[in-house]
Amino acid sequence: MLTPEDRVKLARHNDRPGITDYLGALFTDFFQQRGDRHCGEDESILGGIARFHDQPVTVLGHRKGKTLEENVACRFGMPNPEGYRKAIRILEQAEKFRRPVITFIDTPGAYPGKEAEMRGQGDAIARCMACMSGLTVPVIAVVTGEGGSGGALALGVANRVLMLENAVYSVLSPEGFASILWKDPGRSAEAAAVMKLTAQDLYKGGVIQEILPEPEGGAHTDYAAVFRVVDEALQRNLTLLSKQSPRALAESCYKMFRAMGNGGKEQS
């Protein structure tokens, strides 16, 4: 049995499949959309149009990079405001052209940098969430690795939130949590245990709707198996959501997030 701390390590594993892997395996005809049209391009959020089983969809997600060079260019998956503003632009087009949206979440959090603050990191995240909450096309979010804080949630306001078995999703990293509440970042394992950040805990709490099983040893040990599971889940959820009217989709998204923290599945 894996401890929450074990899962945190698996979720952060260097070889864990990321958005570029899913794009290559599950989608065809990917056309990348770059830049926020105001300030610049942010490589830590990758987005564009692609086909998913022949249907044009919008794909959007955090990118950590594979090589050290890419890691640095992507700030290890920590977006600047431009990343979120690009996401808004791409999401608005998805709405306009009636494309379903699939997001892949994998970030330690939004980048806590000087320029990021000067250019309105809080504003960018808030507006990205606001944009997602108003969409009337089907939106599916998949937490594939680390779902860190507001930087993750900015791409997570969806009709369905799916989560890989060993992914984690939390208000802050366990290190940050331990350092704020206990003034001791060394107690991160203990923090991971109390934070209820595993897919199992979040499913019980009503934060996510589905757990996607991983191969034994973690997603990085068998890419093909992970792709099969994610592909099947996306297809199935997309088929279900596509039957709903635009209005019903927006309404169900509102209701789902409106009830967050009310007690989830355990108490409802």
Partner: protein
């Protein structure tokens, strides 16, 4: 009968305002801005603005409402709604209970209906004396209910933020309040509602990255720290010291994120002007 109720509500608000967010003793109080002492009475008369240098010290939620609302118009919404303990975090319920006792607040936000110079509006005022004004389920729920109330009654919405961000003790459920409040504000605005966001010291983290940044009009008190990441986290990340005035209201105004900086004593006038320009915000 109505008159009696009004008087009673007035007394409650005046009592709460007196109890919290003001200098309590007859002694001197030291300014965190200039370091000089002034008599408590002067601080209270100036709504916790330093009589010597104009530095804005935190003001309690009830004191703020007492300043803004017309006499007899205060009606608290969801006044008894309290926080939960979804992580069963050790010591958290006891901490909440002790703070309720100490501050006279039930949670770190007070929501109310009231009139400001005759204009009806819904108010949400965060209070940094209660767990740094952090947003857990109760804060998210009270703010969302206030937004929905304003939407139902076609009233303008005025939120005063003061928050350290998400309430860590409630884990992911505090994070989710960002999406919840944001979705409510978005819907309110799409239906034509007027939302005036007023930022006070400090407004950071998950509150900045949700409802606080989404005002149709963005205002702030002078010298308030406003940002997503805290200054210390940024300094650790980039390995350098931040310049003086970084993430302060004045810098945000310069960078294009605020419409105006408002001195505390000017709030009633500025808000009344905006409400009047929006025809009371009832056009929606």
């Amino acid at each position: 009968m109505t008159q009696l109720f009004r008087q009673r509500r007035d007394r409650i608000l005046a009592y709460q305002a007196m109890r919290q967010g003001r200098a309590l003793s007859l002694q001197q109080l030291c300014c965190e801005g200039c370091g000089q002492e002034s008599p408590a009475m002067q601080w209270n008369e100036g709504l916790m603005v330093c009589p010597k240098c104009g530095h804005h010290m935190p003001l309690g939620a009830y004191s703020r409402l007492h300043q803004l609302l017309d006499a007899g118009s205060f009606r608290e919404l969801d006044g008894d709604l309290v926080g939960r303990d979804p992580l069963e975090f050790p010591g958290y319920p006891e901490k909440l209970a002790a703070l309720r006792e100490k501050t006279g607040l039930k949670e770190s936000v007070v929501t109310a209906y009231g009139t400001l110079r005759g204009y009806g509006a819904v108010f949400a005022v965060l209070d940094s004396s209660f767990l740094m004004g952090s947003m857990g389920w109760a804060v998210g729920e009270k703010v969302t209910r206030a937004v929905e109330y304003a939407g139902r009654h076609r009233l303008p919405l005025i939120i005063f933020s003061a928050s350290g961000g998400a309430r860590m003790q409630e884990g992911i459920y505090s994070l989710m309040q960002m999406a919840k409040t944001t979705a409510a504000i978005t819907r309110f605005q799409q239906n034509g509602g007027l939302y005036i966001s007023c930022l006070t010291h400090p407004t950071t983290g998950g509150v900045t990255a949700s409802f606080a940044s989404l005002g149709d009009v963005m205002l702030a008190e002078p010298g308030a720290l406003i940002g997503f990441a805290g200054p210390r986290v940024i300094e650790q990340t980039i390995g350098e010291k931040l310049p003086e005035g970084f993430q302060r209201s004045e810098a945000l105004l310069e960078n294009g994120f605020l419409d105006k900086i408002v001195n505390r004593s000017q709030w009633p006038e500025v808000l009344a002007q905006l409400l009047a320009l929006h025809k009371g915000g009832k056009s929606c």
